[in-house]
């Protein structure tokens, strides 16, 4: 019952591209996924490099680097995939990212000893032009506008 309703609602909402929430990967979503993809790549490479070469220096920071990398990968893939399940995963991933960037940002400012080296989320992503801070906010707004089974609140296009 609800499944049927959600499919209809979404079809009307997302420019009739594809059923079941595929509108997420279309239009602005494409740019969002592309930027997430770049960050997934950058964070993975960076975490890999840090853990491989100098893990002992700051294990906590480098483990968080790895967590950030996983979060970006999950967010990229789940945003790109259609379906209600991918939608839920992407909400969790993007929310985790927002919590992570704020928490690590605060920690890196107040407890600089634990974060001697820059990570993706250090100082709210300053090393990356604060994109890591802006990205999850835009991501959540985009996900909110593209909820499966609900017509968008504002039809600006």
């Amino acid at each position: 019952m609800t499944g049927q309703r959600s499919r209809q609602g979404n079809g009307a909402a997302s420019a009739a591209t594809a059923p079941d929430g595929a509108g997420r990967a279309s239009g602005p979503g494409r740019l969002l996924i592309a930027v997430y993809g770049v960050f997934a790549l950058a964070a993975t490479a960076r975490a890999g490099f840090q853990i491989a070469t100098k893990f002992g220096e700051a294990p906590l920071a480098y483990l968080l680097s790895a967590v950030a990398a996983v979060v970006y990968i999950v967010a990229t893939v789940s945003l790109a995939r259609p379906g209600a399940r991918a939608y839920r995963i992407s909400v969790i991933a993007v929310t985790t990212e927002l919590v992570g960037v704020v928490a690590v940002g605060l920690l890196s400012v107040f407890d600089a000893q634990a974060f001697p080296s820059e990570t993706v989320w250090s100082a709210f992503g300053r090393g990356y032009g604060f994109v890591p801070l802006i990205l999850p906010v835009l991501g959540l707004l985009w996900l909110r506008r593209n909820q499966p089974g609900r017509s968008p609140r504002d039809g600006r296009s």
Binding site: G27, G29, R30, A45, R46, F49, T53
Partner: protein, 122 residues
């Protein structure tokens, strides 16, 4: 400033600006934006060839060599990936994706230059 870096920065900046402009003007990807991203890729290939020659001619990477080559190989994939991802759907947003690729390569070039000169670690 290294002439290679200067050329690369200009190519990336012009490409990103063109793609951004086309996106703002609500145009789908056209010859100009696609050729501009192709120019970025072409530059990266030339940069890679140049880097191999410099490396062999006794002007080696001062930082971590494998980090430099990792960056370069990744950078070579960025315009290709962006082109593929952008062209699957031809809307104005595809141009923003291409612009993001130009900006990404732009930033990566600076990192590669830092590694080459042995300045700052990761």
């Amino acid at each position: 400033m290294d002439p290679f870096l200067l050329v690369g920065v200009i190519v990336c900046a012009v490409s990103a600006a063109l793609c951004l402009g086309a996106g703002v003007l609500r145009r789908p990807p056209n010859d100009i934006t696609i050729l501009s991203i192709a120019a970025v890729e072409l530059f990266l290939v030339a940069y890679a060839v140049g880097a191999v020659i410099r490396q062999l001619a006794g002007e080696p990477v001062l930082g971590e060599a494998w980090e430099f080559w990792g960056y370069l190989l990744t950078a070579l994939l960025v315009p290709v990936g962006a082109f593929w991802w952008a062209i699957l759907e031809k809307t104005r947003w595809s141009n923003f994706v291409l612009a993001a690729a130009g900006v990404t390569v732009f930033v990566m070039l600076f990192r590669m230059e830092q590694i080459w000169d042995g300045v700052a670690g990761l």
